[in-house]
Amino acid sequence: MDKTKLLFNIIAVPILIIVLTVYLTLTFTVPTVNSEVSFESMNINRINLVKVRLMWMIPVLCVAIIVSVVIAFVVEEWLSTNNLIRRIIEPQIIILSSIPSIVYGILAIYYLVFNPISSSYVSLAFIVILLVVPITTLSAQNAIRNIDISIRHAAYAVGATKTKVILDHVLPLSLLEILGGICHTISRTLAVAALCILVSILVESPISGQTIVNIVHNIGILLLLVLLFSIVSSFLRKNPNVMY
Protein backbone atom coordinates (compact mmCIF):
# COMPACT_ATOMS: atom_id res chain seq x y z
CA MET A 1 0.00 0.00 0.00
CA ASP A 2 1.16 3.55 0.69
CA LYS A 3 3.68 2.40 3.29
CA THR A 4 5.35 0.05 0.82
CA LYS A 5 5.44 2.78 -1.79
CA LEU A 6 7.20 5.05 0.67
CA LEU A 7 9.57 2.26 1.66
CA PHE A 8 10.36 1.62 -1.99
CA ASN A 9 11.26 5.26 -2.44
CA ILE A 10 13.49 5.24 0.59
CA ILE A 11 15.28 2.10 -0.59
CA ALA A 12 15.55 3.18 -4.23
CA VAL A 13 18.06 5.95 -3.63
CA PRO A 14 20.66 3.93 -1.69
CA ILE A 15 20.29 1.13 -4.24
CA LEU A 16 21.00 3.52 -7.09
CA ILE A 17 24.09 4.74 -5.25
CA ILE A 18 25.26 1.16 -4.67
CA VAL A 19 24.67 0.24 -8.31
CA LEU A 20 26.73 3.22 -9.32
CA THR A 21 29.55 2.30 -6.97
CA VAL A 22 29.60 -1.32 -8.08
CA TYR A 23 29.59 -0.31 -11.72
CA LEU A 24 32.52 2.02 -11.25
CA THR A 25 34.44 -0.52 -9.20
CA LEU A 26 33.98 -3.32 -11.71
CA THR A 27 34.65 -1.36 -14.89
CA PHE A 28 37.59 0.71 -13.82
CA THR A 29 41.08 -0.60 -13.37
CA VAL A 30 43.00 0.88 -10.47
CA PRO A 31 46.56 2.02 -11.20
CA THR A 32 49.09 2.75 -8.47
CA VAL A 33 49.32 6.44 -7.84
CA ASN A 34 52.67 7.89 -6.85
CA SER A 35 53.65 11.49 -6.44
CA GLU A 36 55.72 12.03 -9.57
CA VAL A 37 55.18 15.39 -11.13
CA SER A 38 54.10 14.67 -14.68
CA PHE A 39 51.88 12.09 -16.31
CA GLU A 40 54.55 11.32 -18.89
CA SER A 41 57.17 10.39 -16.31
CA MET A 42 54.66 8.31 -14.36
CA ASN A 43 53.81 6.53 -17.55
CA ILE A 44 50.29 5.70 -16.42
CA ASN A 45 47.01 5.87 -18.21
CA ARG A 46 45.44 9.23 -17.62
CA ILE A 47 41.94 7.89 -18.09
CA ASN A 48 42.44 5.38 -15.30
CA LEU A 49 43.76 8.04 -12.97
CA VAL A 50 40.69 10.15 -13.67
CA LYS A 51 38.52 7.19 -12.80
CA VAL A 52 40.31 6.62 -9.51
CA ARG A 53 39.78 10.23 -8.66
CA LEU A 54 36.13 9.95 -9.56
CA MET A 55 35.81 7.02 -7.16
CA TRP A 56 37.10 9.32 -4.46
CA MET A 57 34.19 11.64 -5.15
CA ILE A 58 31.63 9.02 -4.12
CA PRO A 59 32.28 8.96 -0.35
CA VAL A 60 32.69 12.75 -0.41
CA LEU A 61 29.34 12.99 -2.19
CA CYS A 62 27.62 10.82 0.41
CA VAL A 63 29.02 12.80 3.32
CA ALA A 64 28.18 16.10 1.63
CA ILE A 65 24.56 15.00 1.12
CA ILE A 66 24.13 13.96 4.74
CA VAL A 67 25.72 17.18 5.96
CA SER A 68 23.40 19.22 3.71
CA VAL A 69 20.26 17.59 5.08
CA VAL A 70 21.48 18.15 8.62
CA ILE A 71 22.23 21.80 7.87
CA ALA A 72 18.76 22.22 6.38
CA PHE A 73 17.07 20.79 9.48
CA VAL A 74 19.18 22.80 11.90
CA VAL A 75 18.55 26.05 10.02
CA GLU A 76 14.83 25.47 9.58
CA GLU A 77 14.02 24.00 12.96
CA TRP A 78 16.43 25.56 15.42
CA LEU A 79 17.35 28.94 14.00
CA SER A 80 14.54 31.45 13.90
CA THR A 81 14.24 33.66 10.82
CA ASN A 82 15.86 36.62 12.56
CA ASN A 83 18.75 34.61 13.98
CA LEU A 84 22.09 36.16 13.02
CA ILE A 85 23.76 32.92 11.96
CA ARG A 86 20.80 32.09 9.76
CA ARG A 87 20.84 35.54 8.21
CA ILE A 88 24.49 34.97 7.33
CA ILE A 89 24.21 31.38 6.11
CA GLU A 90 21.05 31.61 4.05
CA PRO A 91 22.17 34.15 1.40
CA GLN A 92 25.42 32.22 0.97
CA ILE A 93 23.50 29.04 0.29
CA ILE A 94 21.30 30.78 -2.25
CA ILE A 95 24.22 32.45 -4.04
CA LEU A 96 26.32 29.28 -4.15
CA SER A 97 23.41 27.19 -5.38
CA SER A 98 22.83 29.50 -8.31
CA ILE A 99 26.34 28.95 -9.72
CA PRO A 100 25.90 26.76 -12.78
CA SER A 101 27.49 23.34 -12.48
CA ILE A 102 29.64 23.93 -15.55
CA VAL A 103 31.81 26.24 -13.40
CA TYR A 104 32.51 23.37 -11.06
CA GLY A 105 32.87 21.15 -14.12
CA ILE A 106 35.75 23.26 -15.40
CA LEU A 107 37.44 23.26 -11.98
CA ALA A 108 36.95 19.51 -11.75
CA ILE A 109 38.45 19.01 -15.20
CA TYR A 110 41.56 20.84 -14.10
CA TYR A 111 42.04 18.87 -10.89
CA LEU A 112 40.95 15.53 -12.30
CA VAL A 113 42.52 15.54 -15.72
CA PHE A 114 45.37 18.00 -15.84
CA ASN A 115 46.74 18.04 -12.31
CA PRO A 116 48.99 15.09 -11.63
CA ILE A 117 49.63 15.91 -7.95
CA SER A 118 47.78 13.73 -5.51
CA SER A 119 47.00 16.65 -3.19
CA SER A 120 44.35 17.55 -5.74
CA TYR A 121 42.16 15.05 -3.89
CA VAL A 122 41.50 17.72 -1.26
CA SER A 123 40.63 20.25 -3.94
CA LEU A 124 38.31 17.71 -5.54
CA ALA A 125 36.54 17.18 -2.24
CA PHE A 126 36.00 20.94 -2.02
CA ILE A 127 34.59 21.05 -5.51
CA VAL A 128 32.15 18.27 -4.71
CA ILE A 129 31.13 19.99 -1.50
CA LEU A 130 30.56 23.30 -3.30
CA LEU A 131 28.65 21.54 -6.03
CA VAL A 132 26.45 19.50 -3.71
CA VAL A 133 25.89 21.21 -0.37
CA PRO A 134 24.19 24.48 -1.36
CA ILE A 135 21.73 22.88 -3.76
CA THR A 136 20.85 19.96 -1.53
CA THR A 137 20.48 22.21 1.51
CA LEU A 138 18.27 24.60 -0.39
CA SER A 139 15.96 21.92 -1.70
CA ALA A 140 15.75 20.23 1.71
CA GLN A 141 14.96 23.61 3.29
CA ASN A 142 12.20 24.18 0.78
CA ALA A 143 10.84 20.72 1.46
CA ILE A 144 10.68 21.46 5.18
CA ARG A 145 9.21 24.90 4.64
CA ASN A 146 6.50 23.57 2.35
CA ILE A 147 4.91 21.66 5.19
CA ASP A 148 1.73 23.35 6.30
CA ILE A 149 2.34 25.10 9.64
CA SER A 150 -1.05 23.86 10.84
CA ILE A 151 0.29 20.31 11.06
CA ARG A 152 2.85 21.52 13.58
CA HIS A 153 0.15 23.37 15.49
CA ALA A 154 -1.97 20.24 15.62
CA ALA A 155 0.94 18.15 16.84
CA TYR A 156 1.96 20.65 19.52
CA ALA A 157 -1.67 20.94 20.57
CA VAL A 158 -1.77 17.25 21.50
CA GLY A 159 1.37 17.68 23.58
CA ALA A 160 4.12 16.56 21.21
CA THR A 161 7.64 17.74 21.97
CA LYS A 162 9.70 19.48 19.33
CA THR A 163 11.73 16.34 18.65
CA LYS A 164 8.50 14.38 18.29
CA VAL A 165 7.07 16.92 15.87
CA ILE A 166 10.20 16.73 13.73
CA LEU A 167 10.51 12.95 13.77
CA ASP A 168 6.81 12.10 13.47
CA HIS A 169 5.65 14.79 11.07
CA VAL A 170 8.25 17.07 9.53
CA LEU A 171 10.60 14.28 8.48
CA PRO A 172 8.01 11.93 6.95
CA LEU A 173 6.21 14.79 5.23
CA SER A 174 9.35 16.26 3.70
CA LEU A 175 11.24 13.02 3.07
CA LEU A 176 10.13 12.43 -0.51
CA GLU A 177 10.96 15.95 -1.55
CA ILE A 178 14.32 15.81 0.21
CA LEU A 179 15.13 12.56 -1.58
CA GLY A 180 14.04 14.18 -4.83
CA GLY A 181 16.50 16.99 -4.20
CA ILE A 182 19.23 14.47 -3.42
CA CYS A 183 18.61 12.64 -6.69
CA HIS A 184 18.77 15.93 -8.52
CA THR A 185 22.14 16.68 -6.91
CA ILE A 186 23.51 13.25 -7.68
CA SER A 187 22.54 13.60 -11.31
CA ARG A 188 24.32 16.98 -11.44
CA THR A 189 27.45 15.44 -9.96
CA LEU A 190 27.34 12.53 -12.37
CA ALA A 191 27.06 14.92 -15.28
CA VAL A 192 30.21 16.68 -14.11
CA ALA A 193 31.93 13.30 -13.78
CA ALA A 194 30.89 12.36 -17.29
CA LEU A 195 32.31 15.63 -18.54
CA CYS A 196 35.66 14.89 -16.87
CA ILE A 197 35.88 11.42 -18.36
CA LEU A 198 35.02 12.79 -21.78
CA VAL A 199 37.79 15.38 -21.58
CA SER A 200 40.34 12.86 -20.31
CA ILE A 201 39.63 10.54 -23.23
CA LEU A 202 39.86 13.36 -25.74
CA VAL A 203 43.16 14.52 -24.25
CA GLU A 204 44.61 11.05 -24.24
CA SER A 205 43.77 9.91 -27.74
CA PRO A 206 43.24 11.60 -31.13
CA ILE A 207 39.71 11.52 -32.43
CA SER A 208 39.00 8.31 -34.30
CA GLY A 209 36.36 5.66 -34.52
CA GLN A 210 38.02 3.89 -31.60
CA THR A 211 37.90 7.03 -29.46
CA ILE A 212 34.19 7.39 -30.06
CA VAL A 213 33.61 3.79 -29.01
CA ASN A 214 35.77 4.44 -25.97
CA ILE A 215 33.73 7.52 -25.06
CA VAL A 216 30.44 5.72 -25.44
CA HIS A 217 31.74 2.81 -23.40
CA ASN A 218 33.01 5.00 -20.60
CA ILE A 219 30.41 7.66 -20.21
CA GLY A 220 27.33 6.07 -21.74
CA ILE A 221 26.22 4.38 -18.57
CA LEU A 222 27.10 7.43 -16.52
CA LEU A 223 24.81 9.53 -18.68
CA LEU A 224 22.07 6.93 -18.43
CA LEU A 225 22.38 7.17 -14.65
CA VAL A 226 22.12 10.95 -14.89
CA LEU A 227 18.87 10.52 -16.77
CA LEU A 228 17.62 7.95 -14.29
CA PHE A 229 18.35 10.14 -11.28
CA SER A 230 16.69 13.14 -12.93
CA ILE A 231 13.58 11.11 -13.63
CA VAL A 232 13.47 9.73 -10.10
CA SER A 233 14.06 13.25 -8.82
CA SER A 234 11.14 14.81 -10.65
CA PHE A 235 8.99 11.84 -9.70
CA LEU A 236 9.79 12.18 -5.99
CA ARG A 237 9.42 15.94 -6.00
CA LYS A 238 5.78 15.73 -7.01
CA ASN A 239 5.32 15.09 -3.30
CA PRO A 240 2.29 12.85 -3.52
CA ASN A 241 -0.18 12.95 -0.68
CA VAL A 242 0.80 9.66 0.87
CA MET A 243 -0.27 8.73 4.35
CA TYR A 244 2.62 8.27 6.69
Binding site: I149, S150, H153, Y156, V158, A160, D168, Y244
Partner: protein, 251 residues
Protein backbone atom coordinates in the same frame (compact mmCIF):
# COMPACT_ATOMS: atom_id res chain seq x y z
CA UNK B 1 -14.42 27.20 43.52
CA UNK B 2 -10.76 27.78 42.73
CA UNK B 3 -10.26 28.78 39.11
CA UNK B 4 -8.36 26.37 36.86
CA UNK B 5 -6.88 29.20 34.80
CA UNK B 6 -5.97 32.61 36.13
CA UNK B 7 -4.75 35.32 33.81
CA UNK B 8 -3.41 38.54 35.29
CA UNK B 9 -2.63 41.62 33.27
CA UNK B 10 -1.74 39.83 30.06
CA UNK B 11 -0.29 41.91 27.25
CA UNK B 12 0.75 40.48 23.92
CA UNK B 13 2.83 41.93 21.13
CA UNK B 14 3.57 40.58 17.68
CA UNK B 15 6.65 42.55 16.75
CA UNK B 16 5.88 46.16 17.59
CA UNK B 17 2.14 45.70 17.36
CA UNK B 18 0.25 45.33 20.59
CA UNK B 19 -2.45 42.75 20.10
CA UNK B 20 -3.82 42.27 23.63
CA UNK B 21 -4.10 44.88 26.36
CA UNK B 22 -4.22 44.20 30.09
CA UNK B 23 -6.35 41.09 30.06
CA UNK B 24 -7.31 39.64 33.42
CA UNK B 25 -9.77 36.85 33.88
CA UNK B 26 -10.36 33.57 35.70
CA UNK B 27 -11.72 30.40 34.20
CA UNK B 28 -13.69 28.04 36.39
CA UNK B 29 -13.49 24.27 35.95
CA UNK B 30 -16.24 22.29 34.24
CA UNK B 31 -17.84 25.22 32.58
CA UNK B 32 -17.96 26.51 29.06
CA UNK B 33 -16.28 29.87 28.84
CA UNK B 34 -16.83 31.64 25.54
CA UNK B 35 -14.85 34.48 24.07
CA UNK B 36 -16.86 36.51 21.62
CA UNK B 37 -16.01 39.48 19.51
CA UNK B 38 -15.67 40.63 15.92
CA UNK B 39 -12.96 39.04 13.79
CA UNK B 40 -9.39 40.25 14.35
CA UNK B 41 -10.14 41.36 17.88
CA UNK B 42 -7.60 38.91 19.32
CA UNK B 43 -9.67 35.86 20.25
CA UNK B 44 -7.32 33.35 18.66
CA UNK B 45 -4.33 35.10 20.19
CA UNK B 46 -5.78 34.85 23.71
CA UNK B 47 -6.39 31.14 23.57
CA UNK B 48 -3.07 30.44 21.91
CA UNK B 49 -1.39 32.04 24.89
CA UNK B 50 -3.00 29.42 27.07
CA UNK B 51 -1.29 26.47 25.38
CA UNK B 52 1.84 28.32 24.27
CA UNK B 53 1.16 27.90 20.56
CA UNK B 54 2.06 31.56 20.10
CA UNK B 55 5.63 30.63 20.97
CA UNK B 56 5.96 29.35 17.42
CA UNK B 57 5.72 32.93 16.14
CA UNK B 58 9.16 34.52 16.03
CA UNK B 59 8.12 38.01 17.05
CA UNK B 60 5.72 37.00 19.84
CA UNK B 61 6.22 38.65 23.22
CA UNK B 62 4.03 38.85 26.29
CA UNK B 63 3.95 40.23 29.79
CA UNK B 64 1.73 39.21 32.69
CA UNK B 65 0.85 36.03 34.48
CA UNK B 66 -0.88 32.94 33.22
CA UNK B 67 -1.51 30.39 35.95
CA UNK B 68 -2.81 26.92 35.24
CA UNK B 69 -3.85 25.18 38.46
CA UNK B 70 -1.80 27.83 40.26
CA UNK B 71 1.37 27.14 38.27
CA UNK B 72 2.90 29.73 36.00
CA UNK B 73 2.57 28.43 32.45
CA UNK B 74 5.71 30.13 31.21
CA UNK B 75 7.90 29.25 34.21
CA UNK B 76 11.15 27.70 33.14
CA UNK B 77 11.01 24.73 35.40
CA UNK B 78 7.63 23.68 34.02
CA UNK B 79 7.87 21.32 31.14
CA UNK B 80 5.82 23.08 28.51
CA UNK B 81 4.69 19.87 26.92
CA UNK B 82 3.47 18.50 30.24
CA UNK B 83 1.21 21.49 30.63
CA UNK B 84 0.27 21.64 26.98
CA UNK B 85 -0.85 18.05 27.25
CA UNK B 86 -3.40 19.05 29.86
CA UNK B 87 -4.74 21.67 27.48
CA UNK B 88 -5.82 20.34 24.15
CA UNK B 89 -7.06 22.33 21.22
CA UNK B 90 -9.42 22.02 18.28
CA UNK B 91 -8.81 24.46 15.48
CA UNK B 92 -10.97 26.40 13.07
CA UNK B 93 -10.35 23.99 10.24
CA UNK B 94 -10.08 20.30 10.97
CA UNK B 95 -6.33 19.72 10.89
CA UNK B 96 -5.71 16.00 10.64
CA UNK B 97 -2.46 14.16 10.23
CA UNK B 98 -2.14 12.27 6.98
CA UNK B 99 -2.71 9.06 8.87
CA UNK B 100 -5.69 6.75 9.16
CA UNK B 101 -8.65 7.61 11.39
CA UNK B 102 -7.36 5.18 13.99
CA UNK B 103 -3.80 6.49 13.89
CA UNK B 104 -4.91 10.09 14.26
CA UNK B 105 -6.48 9.33 17.61
CA UNK B 106 -3.85 6.79 18.63
CA UNK B 107 -1.15 9.41 18.12
CA UNK B 108 -2.33 11.39 21.15
CA UNK B 109 -2.33 8.26 23.27
CA UNK B 110 1.20 7.39 22.14
CA UNK B 111 2.39 10.91 22.92
CA UNK B 112 1.18 10.32 26.46
CA UNK B 113 3.54 7.34 26.60
CA UNK B 114 1.01 4.55 26.26
CA UNK B 115 2.56 1.67 24.35
CA UNK B 116 0.30 -1.30 24.88
CA UNK B 117 -1.66 -2.01 21.71
CA UNK B 118 -4.94 -3.08 23.33
CA UNK B 119 -4.79 -0.14 25.69
CA UNK B 120 -4.33 2.24 22.76
CA UNK B 121 -7.12 0.60 20.85
CA UNK B 122 -9.42 0.95 23.87
CA UNK B 123 -8.60 4.63 24.15
CA UNK B 124 -9.29 5.14 20.45
CA UNK B 125 -12.68 3.43 20.71
CA UNK B 126 -13.61 5.32 23.83
CA UNK B 127 -12.61 8.71 22.45
CA UNK B 128 -14.43 8.15 19.18
CA UNK B 129 -17.53 7.30 21.20
CA UNK B 130 -17.16 10.39 23.35
CA UNK B 131 -16.87 12.44 20.19
CA UNK B 132 -20.11 10.84 18.91
CA UNK B 133 -18.27 9.54 15.88
CA UNK B 134 -17.98 5.85 16.68
CA UNK B 135 -21.02 4.65 14.73
CA UNK B 136 -19.97 6.47 11.59
CA UNK B 137 -16.40 5.21 11.50
CA UNK B 138 -16.29 1.91 13.39
CA UNK B 139 -16.25 -0.11 10.17
CA UNK B 140 -13.45 1.77 8.49
CA UNK B 141 -11.07 2.83 11.23
CA UNK B 142 -8.04 2.31 9.04
CA UNK B 143 -9.05 4.45 6.10
CA UNK B 144 -8.12 7.96 5.13
CA UNK B 145 -10.02 10.53 7.24
CA UNK B 146 -10.16 13.04 4.39
CA UNK B 147 -13.09 11.04 3.04
CA UNK B 148 -15.21 12.08 6.04
CA UNK B 149 -17.41 15.17 5.94
CA UNK B 150 -15.91 18.35 7.39
CA UNK B 151 -18.09 18.04 10.48
CA UNK B 152 -16.99 14.47 11.02
CA UNK B 153 -13.37 15.49 10.53
CA UNK B 154 -13.87 18.11 13.21
CA UNK B 155 -15.33 15.42 15.48
CA UNK B 156 -12.27 13.32 14.78
CA UNK B 157 -10.12 16.25 15.84
CA UNK B 158 -12.14 16.37 19.04
CA UNK B 159 -11.58 12.65 19.57
CA UNK B 160 -7.88 13.18 19.05
CA UNK B 161 -7.89 16.02 21.56
CA UNK B 162 -9.73 13.83 24.06
CA UNK B 163 -7.17 11.07 23.71
CA UNK B 164 -4.58 13.36 25.31
CA UNK B 165 -6.64 13.12 28.47
CA UNK B 166 -6.70 16.87 28.87
CA UNK B 167 -8.28 18.84 31.68
CA UNK B 168 -8.99 21.79 29.46
CA UNK B 169 -10.34 21.75 25.92
CA UNK B 170 -9.99 24.78 23.71
CA UNK B 171 -12.18 25.28 20.66
CA UNK B 172 -11.26 28.00 18.21
CA UNK B 173 -14.36 28.73 16.13
CA UNK B 174 -14.92 25.00 15.64
CA UNK B 175 -18.06 25.46 13.56
CA UNK B 176 -16.92 28.19 11.21
CA UNK B 177 -16.42 25.71 8.37
CA UNK B 178 -19.55 23.70 9.06
CA UNK B 179 -23.00 23.95 7.58
CA UNK B 180 -26.26 24.34 9.47
CA UNK B 181 -26.87 20.61 9.85
CA UNK B 182 -23.47 19.81 11.34
CA UNK B 183 -23.14 22.78 13.68
CA UNK B 184 -25.76 21.59 16.21
CA UNK B 185 -23.95 18.26 16.53
CA UNK B 186 -20.76 19.97 17.65
CA UNK B 187 -22.71 22.26 19.97
CA UNK B 188 -24.43 19.33 21.67
CA UNK B 189 -21.10 17.57 21.89
CA UNK B 190 -19.58 20.53 23.69
CA UNK B 191 -22.51 20.54 26.11
CA UNK B 192 -21.89 16.90 26.97
CA UNK B 193 -18.14 17.32 27.25
CA UNK B 194 -18.42 20.07 29.81
CA UNK B 195 -19.41 17.53 32.47
CA UNK B 196 -15.89 16.19 32.25
CA UNK B 197 -13.72 19.01 30.98
CA UNK B 198 -13.17 22.71 31.30
CA UNK B 199 -14.04 24.20 27.96
CA UNK B 200 -12.89 27.42 26.39
CA UNK B 201 -14.79 28.29 23.30
CA UNK B 202 -14.19 31.01 20.76
CA UNK B 203 -16.79 32.14 18.32
CA UNK B 204 -17.83 35.17 16.35
CA UNK B 205 -21.44 34.05 16.31
CA UNK B 206 -23.31 35.69 19.16
CA UNK B 207 -26.20 33.27 19.18
CA UNK B 208 -23.89 30.30 19.36
CA UNK B 209 -22.12 31.70 22.41
CA UNK B 210 -25.49 32.35 24.03
CA UNK B 211 -26.58 28.77 23.39
CA UNK B 212 -23.43 26.98 24.42
CA UNK B 213 -21.61 28.92 27.12
CA UNK B 214 -21.98 29.46 30.86
CA UNK B 215 -19.60 32.39 31.01
CA UNK B 216 -18.90 34.80 28.19
CA UNK B 217 -16.18 37.36 27.67
CA UNK B 218 -16.40 40.10 25.09
CA UNK B 219 -13.14 41.04 23.39
CA UNK B 220 -12.87 44.22 21.39
CA UNK B 221 -9.67 45.54 19.81
CA UNK B 222 -7.51 43.45 22.08
CA UNK B 223 -9.30 44.49 25.24
CA UNK B 224 -11.46 42.27 27.38
CA UNK B 225 -14.37 44.66 27.67
CA UNK B 226 -16.50 42.53 29.92
CA UNK B 227 -16.65 38.99 31.25
CA UNK B 228 -19.47 37.44 33.23
CA UNK B 229 -22.33 34.98 33.24
CA UNK B 230 -23.55 34.49 29.69
CA UNK B 231 -27.08 35.42 30.63
CA UNK B 232 -25.94 38.66 32.19
CA UNK B 233 -23.69 39.53 29.23
CA UNK B 234 -26.51 38.99 26.79
CA UNK B 235 -29.32 40.61 28.79
CA UNK B 236 -27.83 43.26 31.04
CA UNK B 237 -24.33 44.14 29.86
CA UNK B 238 -22.62 46.88 31.83
CA UNK B 239 -20.51 48.26 29.01
CA UNK B 240 -21.91 50.14 26.03
CA UNK B 241 -19.72 48.34 23.56
CA UNK B 242 -20.88 44.95 24.81
CA UNK B 243 -24.46 46.03 24.48
CA UNK B 244 -23.85 47.26 20.97
CA UNK B 245 -22.19 44.01 20.05
CA UNK B 246 -24.73 41.62 21.51
CA UNK B 247 -27.58 43.56 19.99
CA UNK B 248 -25.85 43.43 16.64
CA UNK B 249 -25.09 47.12 16.23
CA UNK B 250 -21.33 46.54 16.41
CA UNK B 251 -19.07 44.17 14.49
Amino acid sequence: MTPIIQVNDLNVWFGKRRILRNLSFDIQPRQVTAFIGPSNCGKTTVIRCLNRLNDLQVDYRHTGEILINGEELYARKNKTTEIARKISMVFEKPILFKKSIYENVAYSARIRGIKHVTQISNIVDECLMKAHLWNEVKDHLHTDPSLLSIGQQQQLCIARALACEPEILIFDEPCSQLDATETPKIETLIQTLKQQFTIIFVTNKRRQAARVSDVAGFLYNGELVEIGKTEQIFTTPTDNRTENYVTGRLG
